[in-house]
Amino acid sequence: VSGEAQILPGTLDLLILKTVSLGPLHGYGVLLRIGQISGQALLIEQGALYPALFRLVRQGLLKATWGTSDNNRRAKFYELTTAGRKRLREETDGWRRLAAAIGAALSAEPEEA
């Protein structure tokens, strides 16, 4: 599909933090939400998601609690910790700066070079 984009290395963590900041989610929910908020443009390999979630929990950026899903299944729900919220802010700023810089660089005209 032409609308799909490969996610850049290192950006998966940022995406997860953003998604979870909108409200507690289980793993499958994170997957669906990323698709939804990116207009189905970003697809994440299902196998890569859980190691990333596990890593974030261990770094203290997320915390996990067991709960029940909409269709009554026992699932692990993730939400941001204070540290996670702080990290999200920093990473978002950093990403915006990087995106702006790359955008500016790419829109440069030949005579200006």
Binding site: G47, Y50, R55
Partner: protein, 909 residues
């Protein structure tokens, strides 16, 4: 990840490991269920929905493993898992496990045993206080003519002649020692010693033979060695006329006196001289060297009394500045370099030498100077000249065997990994990563290595005294260096033989690996690697077998070399006459003659005689040989003092002139018999009979046949014999008894004869002449034995290797062979094809092995005798044996190939 969070996670992993893991799995399952729920909503059946969800998710195993790795303690846990699995796999293939452990045990055991010896010989310092401060004094001369141009007249020790033109020795005269000791200021302690040779030790109704270490009274104090009981020597013990005292070694204390402390103050007799025991040396101490094991330590001043030497000609060495015999050790002052110390002592050294030597002019002529060498290992002369090349040779040999065992195992594991390809493919298809599977395989080989290593260390420990025994070296100890060496070796071998197969085996393409009976390219490349390993194995075996051939032939040649005398049926023993009862030369000469007569009268004895030295004893006794009318001090020749009937007893033919006889008495003109070599060398155009040499002149009355003198390797040197009747003053000698039958049958009779002649005498060190000769070729025998054993082992390993690779090839190609035979190929052709392959590998291996064997042979050239490195018999013999073994090892798989039933083979496809 911060160290703290890692630790916390490790802690959680250990504490709640299993609950965390089950939570993870629960979470993943929930994910798949939720996805299936969604798919079900879109109209799929539940079963189909679940299937699709699982496919979408991908490798469940892989995800789980990645998460597990993030969990602390992961490595420990997988290691335990791998170990359990490895044990299970080994139990499933006990044959492989046994071969692996046994060949590794032999390889590691041989290396450990040899390393423990090398360790003791080359690395150990003496067990004394601060051995690094000790220095051994030596002198250096610019030599021009070898021994005969050295300034001193007699020297007890060997001189190293370097190619650079310098001669180095470590012996000094007593006067040099005294002068240096009294005038030196660069050493904190200064002491001397002399390795005194064998003696009879009597005490507590027991008799032992052991070597003596003559030492200066301050010897123990300078070295910082405390006695285990009693005291060390006092300065008064050494002074002339002081009390004759002795310090026991631990082994004499144990063997003769059961470690009784009451021995202090008691009297023992050494060569019939009574001495008072004042102390016992500690168990770890073995004299002033790392390759000695003396029985007793005595004051140097007792040497002339206890170990009289024929060559001292009745003169005490303590008063003879021309006899250089004592070695000097000093404890250097802090901050003084060796060069500074040598410079500080050189003046006194040269001054004293000029004052005491007969050839004082040579001190300047030959530019003799004092040098200071490291002394922490004592003199270690035997070590440097004899053991170092030996240790290098043995280590190389053992390393070769270990490499061979590793190559063999790598090959076996490679073949086995190939049969496990399906299993490995399945695991990798389920998402296990290559590194993980390789680690599992490596764990298996490391486990084999570990078992082999433990067995090897046990074997090495059991064998630790075998090689030292051969070398007449004290038993070596197993210290941490030996264990570290064995552990390192084990690790290395495990990586070496396990690494390549593990990496290769996990490099398969999963799809191909899963296809039943697939013939993939990976398979072919395995065979290629396997074949190269077999070629390497054959090559190494060829080297070892050729080495065995060379040493077997060396020993044969040495034993077959004409001796010039008849060694069979000759019994030898030493006799020492106590100075008290046999004070005059006449008394001791009479005793030697009477005892000879009694021995001749024994039933079964054909002849008997005596001499100063045994033939082929390893020692070379030389003396000046100055033909009358020629410049003096120019030449030396080997010499021996012999009793009546010596030539007859030893069957040395007299070529010309006469034997010694009753007409040769002390007052009559001095006579000698020379050998043919001497006649050829010194009197090439004259008849030597009637000519004279030396002062007072000695007349040559006969020419005897040439005999080997000190070793089997050396051609008969120029030798002259002197009659005992004109060269008395001896208190020690060697008896030769020629028997009609087996000489060992006469041991007891000889012993009784000596006792009945004088109850306080006894026959020492009874041996046959053949044993005496065998003693001098111990090193060659050791190499013969080891290369033969290692060569045999190599043959067995090569056999296993060839069989393994051929059997594997046949099993892999069963269906191909089946098709060929279905198409009409004859069994004989199939068999020939398989055998041909085995032959090719062997032929290439042998060719490479010949090159290697030539190189090794050149390195070992100094140990060979009568054979060259390119010895055709050894090379062809080894090649033939290896070829035959290869044929046999390939024959069984080839026959199995020829018996393949085409129908059966095709059906299994």
């Amino acid at each position: 990840m911060s160290a703290f969070s890692w630790l916390r996670s490790l802690w959680a992993g250990i504490l709640h490991g299993s609950s965390v893991r089950s939570e993870m799995e629960q979470e993943l399952r929930t994910h798949i269920a939720l996805r299936a729920d969604d798919l079900e909503c879109s109209g799929l059946s539940r079963g189909e929905a679940e299937r699709r969800a699982r496919i979408e998710f991908g490798g469940f195993e892989k995800v789980r493993e990645t998460m597990h790795e993030a969990l602390g303690g992961h490595l420990l846990r997988t290691l335990a898992q791998d170990l359990r699995y490895a044990l299970r796999m080994l139990r499933k293939t006990p044959g492989l496990a046994i071969i692996a452990v046994a060949s590794l045990a032999l390889g590691i055991g041989a290396n450990t045993a040899i390393f423990s010896l090398t360790n003791a010989l080359l690395l150990d310092a003496m067990p004394v206080a601060h051995p690094e401060q000790l220095r051994l004094l030596a002198w250096q001369a610019q030599h021009q003519f070898g021994y005969k141009s050295l300034p001193m007249e007699s020297l007890y020790g060997s001189v190293g002649f370097a190619k650079t033109g310098t001669a180095t020795g470590t012996e000094f005269s007593w006067e040099e020692y005294e002068a240096l000791r009294q005038n030196q200021a660069v050493f904190d302690g200064f002491t001397a010693y002399f390795h005194g040779g064998g003696a009879n030790i009597e005490g507590g109704n027991d008799l032992e033979r052991g070597t003596l270490e003559y030492v200066a009274p301050n010897f123990f104090d300078v070295l910082g060695v405390r006695t285990a009981a009693g005291r060390t020597m006092l300065p008064s013990d050494g002074s002339r006329g002081g009390a004759p005292v002795v310090v026991l070694s631990d082994w004499i204390w144990r063997d003769m006196f059961g470690r009784s402390p009451s021995i202090i103050g008691k009297t023992i007799e050494v060569n019939r001289v009574p001495l008072t025991v004042v102390g016992v040396a500690p168990q770890s101490f073995h004299g002033a060297g790392v390759d000695l094991d003396p029985a007793l330590y005595l004051p140097l001043q007792l040497q002339p009394q206890i170990s009289p030497d024929a060559w001292d000609r009745g003169k005490s060495r303590l008063q003879n500045g021309d006899t250089w015999w004592v070695r000097i050790l000093g404890r250097i002052k802090p901050g003084v370099t060796n060069a500074q110390a040598a410079a500080a002592l050189d003046g006194i050294f040269r001054q004293t030498a000029k004052a005491t030597l007969h050839h004082a002019d040579r001190i300047d002529q030959e530019s003799v100077h004092l040098v200071v060498q490291p002394g922490g290992r004592g003199d270690a002369q035997r070590t440097d000249t004899e053991f170092v090349p030996m240790a290098i040779g043995l280590s190389a040999l053992a390393a070769l065997v270990l490499v061979l065992a590793c190559v063999n195992l790598a090959n076996l594991l490679l073949a086995r990994a190939a049969t496990r390809r399906r299993e490995l493919s399945v695991r990798m298809a389920l998402g296990a990563r290559r590194g993980r599977v390789a680690r599992q395989l490596l764990t298996e080989s490391m486990m084999l290595a570990l078992f082999g290593g433990v067995a090897g260390v046990a074997l090495g420990f059991a064998l630790r005294n075998v090689i030292p025994h051969f070398l007449e070296h004290q038993p070596t100890s197993f210290d941490w260096r030996v264990y570290a060496f064995a552990a390192g070796l084990t690790l290395l071998t495990g990586l070496l033989f396990g690494g390549i197969p593990a990496w290769r085996a996990t490099g398969v393409e999963i799809r191909k690996g899963l296809q039943d009976g697939a013939r993939s390219t990976a398979d072919r490349s395995h065979s290629r690697l396997g074949r190269s390993l077999v070629v390497l194995q054959v090559c190494l075996s060829m080297i070892l077998l050729t080495g065995a051939g060379l040493f077997v032939r060396t020993v044969r040649n040495l034993l077959d070399a004409p001796l010039g005398f008849a060694p069979h049926h000759i019994l030898l023993f030493d006799l020492v006459l106590p100075r008290r009862e046999y004070a005059t030369p006449e008394q001791s000469a009479a005793a030697f003659r009477q005892l000879t007569d009694r021995l001749r009268a024994l039933p079964g004895v054909e002849a008997a005689s005596f001499s100063a030295e045994a033939l082929v004893s390893g020692d070379k006794w030389t003396a000046n040989f100055d033909p009358t009318g020629e410049p003096k001090g120019k030449d030396v020749a080997c010499t021996n003092i012999v009793g009546d009937g010596f030539f007859h007893t030893m069957e040395i033919p007299l070529r010309e002139g006469r034997d010694f006889g009753p007409q040769d008495t002390a007052p009559s003109p001095k006579v000698a018999i020379v050998n043919e070599q001497l006649a050829r060398q010194f009197f090439p155009h004259r008849d030597p009979i009637g000519l004279t040499f030396n002062t007072p002149p000695i007349r040559i009355v006969g020419i005897a046949g040439d005999t080997k003198f000190s070793t089997l390797r050396q051609a008969p040197p120029p030798t002259y014999y002197l009659p005992e009747s004109q060269n008395g003053q001896r208190n020690a000698g060697l008896f030769e008894v020629k028997t009609a039958g087996n000489p060992t049958a006469l041991v007891n009779a000889a012993r009784r004869t000596v006792r009945s002649f004088d109850p306080q005498l006894f026959a020492g060190d009874i041996r046959t002449q053949q044993e005496q000769i065998d003693d001098t070729i111990r090193n060659e025998r050791l190499f013969e034995m080891l290369t033969a054993a290692f060569g045999g082992l190599a043959l067995v390993l090569a056999c296993i290797g060839i069989y393994g690779i051929m059997a594997y090839t046949v099993s892999q190609r069963t269906s191909e062979i089946g098709i060929r035979m279905a198409l009409g190929a004859e069994p004989r052709r199939v068999m020939r094809a398989i055998l041909g392959e085995a032959w090719w590998m062997t032929a290439i291996g042998i060719a490479a092995g010949i090159v290697g064997a030539l190189a090794v042979g050149r390195l070992a050239a100094s140990l060979l005798y009568g054979v060259q490195a390119w010895d055709a018999v050894s090379l062809c013999g080894s090649a033939a044996v290896l070829g035959a073994v290869a044929l046999a090892a390939g024959w069984f798989p080839a026959r199995r190939a020829a018996k393949v039933d085409p129908m059966q083979a095709l059906r299994t496809e």
